[in-house]
C-alpha cells in the first residue's frame, strides 16, 4: 500500500508492503511502531533510532503527531486518493463551508465580524471567554461570513457553531 504524506508542504511517499516492510521515497527503512496503551502514545524505532510520540487522528486523513515538542500536521492519502485530488486540483483547506466551532464551553465576549463581511484567513471571528481567559477564534480560510449564530454574552457549549464562513457564491 502506498501513501503520500504531506507535512508543511513536503511530500513523503511511504510504501508499506505485504510483509510490513517500509519504503520512504523508495528507500527501505527499518521501522517498528508499537502502541503503548490506548491513548495514542507510540514508540517508533526507525533504523534503530528511538522516538516516543503522541498521535491523534484529527479527522479523516488528518493526523497530528507530537514528537520532540513539535507538532506535525500530517495529511495522509493513499495513492489513488492522492491522484484523484491532484487531478481535481482540490485544495481541501480553502474551500467549502466552514463553521467556526467553540473549542470549549464558554461565554461569547465579542463577535467582531458581521454577516456578509469578507474575511481573510487568520482574522478574528469570535472572542470567547473560558477558563478565566479570553480566546480569539480565527478564520481558517478566506471567504465571506455567511452566518453569525451568537452574540456577546451568549453561553455556548463545546462544539457549538458560532460563525459560518463560505464562498460568496454558496
Amino acid at each position: 500500500m502506498k501513501y503520500i504524506v504531506t507535512i508543511n508542504g513536503n511530500e513523503y511517499t511511504i510504501d508499506i508492503d505485504g510483509d510490513g516492510q517500509i519504503f520512504v521515497n523508495d528507500e527501505h527503512i527499518d521501522a517498528d511502531l508499537q502502541n503503548l496503551g490506548d491513548g495514542g502514545l507510540v514508540s517508533l524505532l526507525v533504523d534503530r533510532r528511538s522516538y516516543e510520540a503522541a498521535v491523534h487522528n484529527h479527522e479523516r486523513d488528518q493526523w497530528q503527531v507530537l514528537l520532540g515538542g513539535e507538532i506535525y500536521d500530517a495529511f495522509v492519502q493513499d495513492e489513488r486518493a492522492y491522484r484523484l485530488a491532484k487531478a481535481r486540483g482540490e485544495q481541501e483547506d480553502d474551500t467549502g463551508i466552514v463553521p467556526t466551532k467553540a473549542p470549549m464551553p464558554g461565554v461569547v465576549v465579542r463577535v467582531p465580524v458581521a454577516e456578509g463581511e469578507a474575511v481573510t484567513k487568520g482574522q478574528t471571528l469570535v472572542i470567547l471567554e473560558s477558563m478565566k481567559m479570553e480566546n480569539e477564534l480565527k478564520a481558517t480560510r478566506d471567504g465571506v461570513v455567511l452566518e453569525v449564530k451568537v452574540s456577546a454574552g451568549d453561553s455556548v457549549d463545546k462544539d457549538a457553531a458560532l460563525v459560518v464562513i463560505g464562498d460568496e457564491a454558496s
Binding site: M1, Y3, V5, I7, N8, N10, Y12, I14, I16, I22, V24, I29, A31, L33, N35, G37, D38, G39, G40, L41, V42, L44, V46, R49, Y51, E52, A53, A54, V55, N57, D61, W63, V65, L66, L67, G68, G69, E70, I71, Y72, A74, V76, D78, P103, M104, P105, G106, S130, M131, K132, M133, N135, E136, K138, K158
Partner: protein, 505 residues
C-alpha cells in the same frame, strides 16, 4: 498584636481548595500527623485531594461560586467534621478578608495572615501607602481617583512611558501603556471604561512603566512571635498575559548583595502589616537592578516549590507550624540557598493555537520520574478537565546542582511527560528549554509575548512523523477493512471486540 488571633494546636485541618494545591496541603498534614478534611464539588468526587484526605465532604455543584466559594458551606463542613483549622491554598477564598474573618469569628485557626493584612495588601493604594511608610521603594506614580487634568500634570512629573492602571485591577484588565503624552487622555478614558465594566470601579492611577523589567519576588516567613525572615528570591519573568508560566530560584539576575537588599525590603513590607505566615513580596527589577514593590501576595504561592528545593525548607509545613503558634526554628542566617530549581506550569491549553484553553478527559497519563524531578499535581488518569476551574493542572519542578543541570533535567522530564486526551503546554516548555534567550538568562516580562515563537525550532523529525502517520493510517485502514467485510459484521462483534482490544494494547 496577636491577641485576637486563634493560634493553637490543632489536629484536624479543613482544606478549602481543590487541585494540586489541596493535594500539596494534605500531604504536608500527613507528614505532620494532622488529620485532613477535603471538600469537593460534583466535578471532583474522584479527585486526588478527595482520595488522599482522611475525610471528604460534598459541597455542591461544579461551578466554584456554588461550591468552593460558598463560605457558609465551608464553615459548616468545619463544624460537622470537627476541623479546627482551615487552609485556603491559593485562588478561591485565599485572599478574601471576609473569609479569613469568618474563620476567626467561628473560632477556627486560619492558616494565613491576619484579615487586616489581607485587607491592606489587597488594596493597591493602601498597600502602597503602608510599604512606603516602611521605606519600601515603589514604582513612581499617582494615587487613584485624580481627575484627568491632575493625571496629565502628574504624568509630566513621572515621565513617559507610563502605565494607566485600574485601582481595583488585576490580570491586566484596565491596564494601558502610554508612550507619548498625546495618547494619555484616550488611554485614561479607555482604562476607566474597562475597569468600570470589569470591576465596577472605574478609578485608575498612573505608574511609571519600567521597561525591560524582570518580575522577581521574595518569599517571606513570619511567625506569631515577631520573627520575620525571607527565603530568597524567585524569578518569574516568563509570563503570558500576566500569567506566570515558568519560575526559578535563584534568579540568574540576582547577586548576593541584591538578594540581601531585596530580602530586607520584603521583610520590612511584611512587618509593615504585622504579617504572619508565608507570603510573597513581588518586585519589578529594572536593568540597573533598581527594584520596585509591585504587590504582596498574602498566601501560599503556586511557585513555592522552587524555593523549597533550594532552601530545603518545607513552606507548607512551616505555615502549619506557625499557625499552631510555634516560633520559627531557624533564623535568617540559617537560610542557605543551594543548587537550582525550575518549575514549569503545565496548563491545559494548546500552545500551537494561541494557547487556547483545552478541555477533555485525560485518557493516558505518564509522569516523569528519577533524580531531581518533583511533580505537584491534582490530576489523574481519567480526570475530566472541565472549564469550571483553572487550566493549570500540574507543576513539574526540576532540581539540579546548578542552572544547567536543572535545565537538562527539565528537558528530559518534559520529554517523559505524556498527557493524552487533553492538550497541554508541555511543548511550549520544551521550546523554551531550547531557546537561547532562556538558556542565557537574558529575558524580561515581555519576552514570551513579544519575542518568543513556537515556530522557532526546526521540524527536525518530519520524516519520522510522516512514517508514524502513514503506519497509523495503514493500520486503521486495515482495521476498517476488516470491519466492513460483507456479511461478517453482525456475527463478529465479539471477534471485533477482541481484535480492537488487541489493537489498543
Amino acid at each position: 498584636m496577636i491577641e485576637n488571633l486563634h493560634l493553637q494546636r490543632f489536629n484536624k485541618l479543613l482544606v478549602v481548595n481543590r487541585g494540586e494545591i489541596a493535594v500539596r496541603i494534605i500531604r504536608a498534614c500527613h507528614e505532620l500527623g494532622i488529620g485532613t478534611v477535603a471538600v469537593y464539588s460534583d466535578a471532583d468526587r474522584n479527585a486526588l485531594h478527595v482520595r488522599y484526605a482522611d475525610e471528604a465532604y460534598h459541597i455542591g455543584p461544579s461551578p466554584a461560586r456554588e461550591s468552593y466559594l460558598v463560605i457558609e458551606k465551608l464553615l459548616d463542613v468545619a463544624k460537622q467534621s470537627g476541623a479546627t483549622a482551615v487552609h485556603p491554598g491559593y485562588g478561591f477564598l485565599a485572599e478574601r478578608q471576609a473569609f479569613a474573618q469568618a474563620c476567626y469569628d467561628a473560632g477556627l485557626v486560619f492558616v494565613g495572615p491576619h484579615p487586616r493584612a489581607i485587607h491592606i495588601m489587597g488594596d493597591k493604594q493602601m498597600a502602597r501607602d503602608a510599604v512606603i511608610a516602611a521605606g519600601v521603594p515603589v514604582v513612581p506614580g499617582t494615587e487613584p481617583g485624580l481627575d484627568d487634568e491632575e493625571m496629565i500634570a502628574a504624568a509630566e512629573e513621572i515621565g513617559f512611558p507610563l502605565l494607566v492602571k485600574a485601582s481595583a485591577g488585576g490580570g491586566g484588565k484596565g491596564m494601558r501603556p502610554v508612550h507619548d503624552p498625546a495618547e494619555l487622555p484616550g488611554a485614561l478614558a479607555g482604562a476607566r471604561r474597562e475597569a468600570e465594566s470589569a470591576f465596577g470601579d472605574g478609578r485608575v492611577y498612573l505608574e511609571k512603566l519600567i521597561t525591560h523589567a524582570r518580575h522577581i519576588e521574595i518569599q517571606v516567613l513570619a511567625d506569631s512571635h515577631g520573627n520575620v525572615i525571607h527565603l530568597g528570591e524567585r524569578e518569574c519573568s516568563l509570563q503570558r498575559r500576566h500569567q506566570k508560566l515558568l519560575e526559578e530560584s535563584p534568579s540568574i539576575f540576582v547577586d548576593e548583595s541584591l538578594r540581601a537588599r531585596m530580602g530586607a525590603v520584603a521583610v520590612a513590607a511584611a512587618k509593615a502589616v504585622d504579617y504572619i505566615s508565608a507570603g510573597t513580596v513581588e518586585f519589578l527589577v529594572d536593568r540597573e537592578k533598581n527594584f520596585y514593590f509591585l504587590e504582596m501576595n498574602t498566601r501560599l504561592q503556586v511557585e513555592h516549590p522552587v524555593t523549597e528545593l533550594v532552601t530545603n525548607v518545607d513552606i507548607v509545613q512551616e505555615m502549619l507550624r506557625i499557625a499552631r503558634g510555634r516560633p520559627l526554628k531557624f533564623k535568617q542566617e540559617d537560610v542557605r540557598m543551594e543548587g537550582w530549581a525550575i518549575e514549569c506550569r503545565v496548563n491545559a491549553e494548546d500552545p500551537f493555537s494561541n494557547f487556547m484553553p483545552a478541555t477533555g478527559r485525560i485518557s493516558t497519563l505518564r509522569v516523569p520520574t528519577g533524580p531531581g524531578v518533583r511533580i505537584d499535581t491534582g490530576v489523574y488518569e481519567g480526570a475530566e478537565i472541565s472549564p469550571f476551574y483553572d487550566s493549570m493542572i500540574s507543576k513539574l519542578i526540576c532540581y539540579g546542582k546548578n542552572r544547567a543541570e536543572a535545565i537538562m533535567r527539565m528537558r528530559r522530564a518534559l520529554a517523559e511527560y505524556h498527557i493524552m486526551g487533553v492538550q497541554t503546554n508541555i511543548p511550549f516548555h520544551q521550546h523554551i528549554m531550547e531557546t537561547p534567550r532562556f538558556l542565557g538568562g537574558t529575558f524580561d516580562t515581555q519576552f514570551v509575548e513579544n519575542e518568543f515563537s513556537m515556530k522557532d525550532l526546526d521540524a527536525r523529525d518530519e520524516m519520522e512523523a510522516a512514517v508514524i502517520a502513514a503506519i497509523m493510517a495503514h493500520r486503521q485502514g486495515e482495521y476498517l477493512g476488516q470491519m466492513v467485510a460483507p456479511g461478517e459484521r453482525d456475527t463478529s462483534n465479539w471477534k471485533w471486540l477482541s481484535r480492537w482490544e488487541r489493537l489498543k494494547r
